[in-house]
Amino acid sequence: MMYFSRLKTMLILLICAAGLVLSLPNLLPGLPAWLPLPTIHLGLDLKGGSYLLLEVDMNAVVKERLDGLVDESRRALDRAGVRPFTVVAQPADNRLLVKLGDPSRQDQALSALRGLATPSGQGISSRPDLDFATVPEGITITLSPVALNERAAAAVTQSIEIVRRRIDETGVVDPNITRQGSNRIVVQLPGIEDPNRIKELLGKTARMTFRLTDENANISSPVPPPGVDFLPMENNPNAKVAVRRRVEVDGGNLTDARAGQNSQTGEWVVNFTFDSIGTRRFADVSRASVGHPFAIVLDDKVISAPVIREPITGGRGQISGSFTAASANELAVLLRAGALPAPLTVVEERSVGPELGADAIRAGGISLAVGFVLVIAFMGTFYGLFGWMANLGLLVNLVLMLGVMSLLQATLTLPGIAGVLLTLGMGVDANILISERIREEVKNGRTPLNAMETGFRRAYSTIIDSNLTGLLAHVMLFFFGSGPVRGFALTITVGIITGLFTATMLTRLMMVRWYSHNRPAMLPV
């Protein structure tokens, strides 16, 4: 305990030096760019900004898949010629129910429907994404859980991408978009005090479709005919348009969309360009339907329903529909970024203005400084020279904490500052244990050297026991906790580890060095 090999001494000093170097970029912000050292990030509660927790509507994902499947089943049954039949989606059970008019043709229908399944999963776990079963009422087609999970995961991944694109369009600096759990997305927007515009932008799925209308449908009838929806007009919710469900061209086939002004009328419009597939499809549809109206539908609302005057083959088009400059621009942004696979809901919002953040930093800083001074004064007063050595260790501990947190590129939050303060108070516990123990050993009549040796050794098991319990607790809190507690748990965890190092290595080294240099007849305890 009283002997430090040269190597060990060097190692201890090296760790301290490394900590200092790593913590420097935080203390001197004007460091040259050729030194690419990581720094601690300030949490949004300290620097101001918005935190949004979005939830992907998984019911919508299931519903959309089922709706698609209804159409596919109808076509498959039509082709097999097993009329009459009805197909009903039962979203609560993730399944479709097919009822046949002629039950004796069940086998024929079943084999026609089986063709709809596609493999999901990979390798040996690969299996069809649909489960077929015959029940007394008819045939059920259930989405298999594996395929559903896959679809859900894909929907979240795609949503993250779309969210990122939309936010990038707004020019927010350094947004942070990450997945949380199975169906949530965390969006962090530094410097954004009022996230309203972003929320509006993310609140739209922006699924644009070009569809034909059904001119024969009776718009006043309560139930639309099969394959047709009565959708409201965007600018007049009371006016309905009978729109065919079948999507001719999808917004996914757009390559560009820009807001602009119509050169003749001066009204705001959105000009768009199709990709090659979109161009071809649109050309085909418009050629076949000259003289008929088609509908441009955005999120189940009809933006406009113009009549096709001539085949549109250039792959370019214009959407007009009582836009303002702002709304035309927004639509263009949404179309460029692409459609969300499912609606997003904001389930948690936290935004802090920079003023409050600055207040928090000031309050945290003052508390930290006062707390540090109080602890140092206490240790100096009650533990003398060894107390001052502990204080030096405490200072190094602070530097090391900063260094490790930078290395981890951790985020410092307001509760994190509280964690730093508490580790300062608890960090000297090891030093107190050692000092008290040495004092006892001196009282027991040991020589200074012997007392220090025994004191260190006996204090150690206690130090380990008492620190390990706290460490365990906070590591668990970090892994299982959520939100601000994690920042707190992280700083305390780091602080306990660095504190153990400074108290049991660095201050011990100082004490041993001091002893071998002075060979005192009496210890300052």
Binding site: V347, A363, G364, T381, T469, M476, V485
Partner: protein, 319 residues
């Protein structure tokens, strides 16, 4: 000042007979904890927005805040029962709304409050918005409790592993008593119970465990050292021997948390007050609760020959 300690917290050879007060200590603790449990159910914890869900907005008005006008504009927006509260200086106001049935409704509410604030006093600045949906808040609550539970479990497993079962039971019971008191303190002071408070309670538990471990460590050591000292004397001796350390550490932690309570601002001061309370409780419970329980449980187990008079000279402890 820079060489020898200026003061000692207590003289070295104290002989406080802590075990004399064991029934008093246990009884007091039991009463306080029972009261805390009652407080927990009535009036209950003041759940913060993290756990209750709802909206909290902090705004700064250009002049002194006109709460009456603000209330009427909020009512005009169809916002019922907003809680308005002065916060900091006269121009700062805190608006609280109950959790809305759906997430979308919560979001609409945020927009409405923003509009109302601008209408009531033009130039009002929203400094902070927290809006937590109902599903998220209950999830946060359960996750918080789960994290707390699993951390507590880890501490217990560790103590169980390192000490005889009498120690473990003593520690567990004491920690439960400590935790209930901290909860009672929260209920009594109406300090908001939010996510950060989960951290505070866990830190109190960690700190309290640390304190018990140090005393228990000494008891264990003395059990080997003084082969025939009655357990009661031995525990008293162990507490007295570690008393300076116990007070020293509790004071440093206390001093570190104190500025946080005084200058830490709204978010951290509640946290720090709970910490301070926990430090006092955790320190005293080592001597007055954990040690008596150990005595009660271990009297005939840890020390079989309690009738043999104590040895005058300590037997050298085996290394």
């Amino acid at each position: 000042m820079f060489f020898r300690p200026l003061f000692r917290i207590l003289p070295d050879d104290t002989h406080f007979a802590f075990m004399k007060a064991r029934y008093f200590g246990l009884l007091t603790s039991a009463i306080l904890s029972t009261l805390s449990v009652i407080l927990f159910f009535h009036p209950g914890l003041n759940l913060g927005i993290d756990f209750s869900g709802g909206i909290v907005m902090e705004a700064r008005t250009p002049g002194p805040a006109d709460n009456a006008k603000l209330r009427t504009t909020l009512a005009a927006q169809g916002i019922r029962e907003p809680r308005l509260q002065r916060f900091g200086d006269a121009s700062q106001v805190l608006i609280r709304l109950e959790a809305q049935p759906t997430e979308a409704a919560t979001q609409q509410m945020v927009t409405k409050v923003r509009t109302a604030l601008e209408q009531a006093q033009a130039g009002t600045k929203v400094l902070r918005t927290d809006a937590v949906g109902a599903s998220v808040s209950s999830e946060l609550f359960h996750r918080g409790l789960f994290a707390l539970g699993i951390s507590l479990l880890m501490i217990l497993v560790y103590i169980w592993f390192r000490f005889e079962w009498e120690f473990a039971v003593g520690a567990v019971v004491t920690l439960l008593l400590d935790t209930t008191k901290a909860i009672g303190f929260l209920a009594l002071t109406r300090i908001e119970f939010d996510l950060v408070m989960v951290g505070a309670i866990l830190t109190i538990i960690g700190y309290s465990t640390n304190d018990k471990v140090v005393v228990y460590d000494r008891v264990r050591e003395n059990l080997r050292k003084y082969k025939s000292m009655p357990l009661r004397e031995l525990i008293d001796l162990s507490i007295n021997e570690t008393l300076n350390r116990t007070l020293g550490t509790s004071m440093t932690v206390f001093l570190a948390a104190l500025p946080l309570a005084l200058f830490g601002g709204a978010t951290l001061s509640g946290f720090a007050w709970v910490m301070l309370f926990g430090i006092v409780v955790g320190t005293s419970s080592s001597s007055f609760i954990a040690a008596p329980i150990l005595l009660l449980l271990g009297e005939h187990r840890l020390r079989r020959d309690a009738t043999v008079p104590p040895a005058k000279t300590p037997v050298k402890a085996a290394p």
